[in-house]
Amino acid sequence: MAKPWDAIVVGGGHNGLVCAAYLAKAGRRVLVLERRHVLGGAAVSEEVFPGFTFSVCSYVVSLLRPWIIRELELSRFGLELIPLEASFLPLPDGRSLCRWADPGLTRDEIAAFSKKDADVYSEFGRAMSKMGQFAKPVIDAPAPDPTSLRPGELLKLLRLGRHFQDATPDEIELRLKLFTMSAVDFLDEWFESDVLKAPMSVSGIIGTFLGIRSPGTAYVLLHHYMGEIDGAFRSWGFARGGTGAVSNAIAESARHFGATIRTEAPIERILVENGQARGVLLENGEEIRAKTVVSGCDPRRTFLGFVGADHLPDDFVEGCKRYKYRGSSGKVNLALDALPQFSSRPGDGLHLRGDIAIAPSTDYLERAYDDAKYGDFSRRPYINVVIPSTVDPTVAPPGKHVMSCFVQYAPYDIKEGPSHWPERREAFGDAVVDTLAEYVPNIRELILHRQVLTPWDLEQEFGLSEGNIFHGELSLEQLAFHRPVAGWTRYRTPVQRLWLAGSGAHPGGGVMGTPGALCARTMLDGGAV
């Protein structure tokens, strides 16, 4: 019989791969098992149509932690990040707002809508960056455990408290507000122009089933403000070759350090004997033993799927069932015959080399949410568009383009029931194209191919429960020591030798890599592997 692995990682998404790379780097024998034929999970590039490569799901790189890039030497293994040039907001009335990397240019653009806002904008950026600095130690370390009485844990909580106290009264107020306010209420305190507030507020709702006026969304705004490339705050980027290139670089790194990676190796279940994980059983009947098993899948698939409720304590199962997914977004990927022409800024330009938001007003965004609340996709959704082919010629044939549209809201639980999504898929795609046509009149003539991914598809195809791109909603009651189930927040699980390394663990979703890295670190530090 073959020598058992030190660790089997179930799921070759970016977090599973990061965890595997760290374990391998520490000299452990690691096997990664991926169900699909490509690595990356939702951070994947695929040639969906001949010649057109799409970042099928996740489409920009923002939160990937610089220390992970450094420690896993991802640049050496092919990761190349291209910063986004701008955030472009076209409006249906022909006006538009572009926020550039250059603060002076941005100021001029905003001043066209509000002089006061133009003045405040950079001050806001500074305040948020400072907040980001405060949040960084929280997202770069395992969640504090308020139930522990160990001196080390108490000290950690105390240090967080001290950190709080060292701030000025204004900073304390800002922090309190950020954790409890809605994105719109929070921005209202700074800005007057709806044209500025609308595109800024949307980062508060990405991947949640909340509206921009829902309390608590101001915090998520920060979550997305912490994006950094090479240590520079608020810079988003494309990976050359698509988001899959991130996963491929991590995989290369893992292989370099000695990990073995198998694709098209779906597992049937995680083998549990006497309350301990012993390995996995593949769908083809093959059994592979290991000293530890790490799951990069979301908590529902991991515990209620691969492990089974029988092997778990009742209250843990209860907690798993209560944990909310409620996917709220879809993806429409378009292969275009030529560069799209925005009526508000025709022609080619740097504004197309960034992210483009269809978010003309706060009421527009809120109405999009209302449609979803009552069980339908938004008739006029929020769309975040990127055209990576403008900066990365490898992803489309010459002269042609790929256009990636992140679309919210598309609720998993539509009123007909989630399994009826396939019948509504094309109507959803049409709503997206119709919306785009209000800004890009000739869009319909340009479309060569169209791929529509509903939350149902994200679940079926990518294994994301209820189509949630973050392995569970990023709402306040599901963060830190509540993620995914209170009492089980340190990557450990009630099954001994089974670990959770996906976005369903602290600090949560986004192509961040932190859950995978922190899981590996916790395992190694504790001598578990």
Binding site: K177, T180, P215, H482
Partner: protein, 518 residues
Amino acid sequence: MTKRYDALVLGAGLEGLAAAATLAQAGRAVACIDALEQPGGVCARRTFHADHSVPGLLHELGATRRALCAGLDLASAGLAWNEKETALWVPPPVEDPEARGLRFARGEDGWHAALGSHAADTDGLARLFGFIERVRSLALEILDEPVPELFTPSKRELFALAQKAVRLRRLGDRDMLELLRVIPSPASDWLGEHIAHPGLRAVLAAPALAGSVHGPRAPGTAGLVLLRACTLEREPVGGGAALAGALADSARRAGVEFLLGQGVRELRVEAGSVRGALLAGGESLDARTVVSTLDPATTFVDLLPFPHSSDQLGRAARQWRTRGGIASLSLACSSEPAFRGTDDVSLVRAISASQLDELELAADALKYSDVPSAPWLDVVVASRIDPQAAPAGKATLSVHIHGVPFDVQGGWTDAARETLLESVWVGLEHLAPGLRSSVVGHELLLPSDLAANYGLRGGHLLGGELNLDQLWIQRPSAALARYRTPLAGLFLAGSSSHPGGNLFGGAGVLGARAVLSS
């Protein structure tokens, strides 16, 4: 000649009365000033039709901080509390005539609801209220004392904070973590975890959300449901007017002088300290201390002379949110109302929402400043709690129409008011068939009318929106939550201060204590 006092209390609403009485009892010479002709604010009796009056406009006074008000001896001022908690009636939904209505009340031995086919909810309800009972005493402890000092805590305060942390830990891991999970959750999620009956979910959420512009899907609304469940007890006999009357009586006996019928025009400030106030009629009053129970914007922007109202105070005032969402409709009826689905003629209160989405839809109308097409209604038969409200055999009803914005698109024209009233008649007919034909007189107060008549900014009845970001250490802002202001001698202690909202008497008494200890 300028009159001289130790303290001026601005506003003779419940908080103003409680603050004035507390200060006077401690031997201070106190004047309580209000623009209205009688004390009580929105709790004062309002006669709106011949022989018909409402004992104030509020529907729930059961969360009054009775422990904090104990020293005011309201009992000898004639105040009594009901022996039982007020039952809430939810009629069966229109589309399901077979269904039974829901009567919901808390008795000595727990919560009661006739659940019919939802018998499984009996366990859910027990689980829910078991948890509430276990966290209740900690919640009350936190609500009945000033918020902790965040900025420059003394050793003693740090110790008190540590004690609080220990109390939290003593709940046990399970309840502590559950408490931290529930507070920021949406009410619809938390209630959905325990309860299947749509009417029972609605009856638990609806009154708790009355001070918020949000619907039950909004994060933090579970915290409001929990807050209400922890604090609500029996109602005062005779309603708000009786409570206000007793507080005013207590204040008078302690020596408070009432200056009614004219408000304050401006606060007098010298060398960075408050020195008194100038009344609307031109009279000048001297005092080393001014306790304002008015909202922060009125206090800091309208009443403070320019150079003092700048910066921190002005910002706190501007950022304080007071979007009202309730219109008050008083009805004079020629006969007793009969709620649909029950023959209990002693029922005092009913709500029209038989599921959570009705609350959500009302909140949607607020977001877009629309006239709500189907507002939900909270009805109190005022004449059943206060015999003075209507002549024998007749009835007076107080209706809260939820989801009514301060401003609507196109303004509150007569046509818009009519549109609103029409949808209310439809809702009332559903709640109590035949009611409309018995109405002999009515008065509709939109949020803008409440603002104009009672000086309530935004028409908000509870001093400012109830949301997580406007409670506890953030009520009304982190820097002002301990009643003191940066201006020496000026204190803020209305319902826009902790504990605020409908936790009546809390801010007034705690604010007065802050004055006395400084």
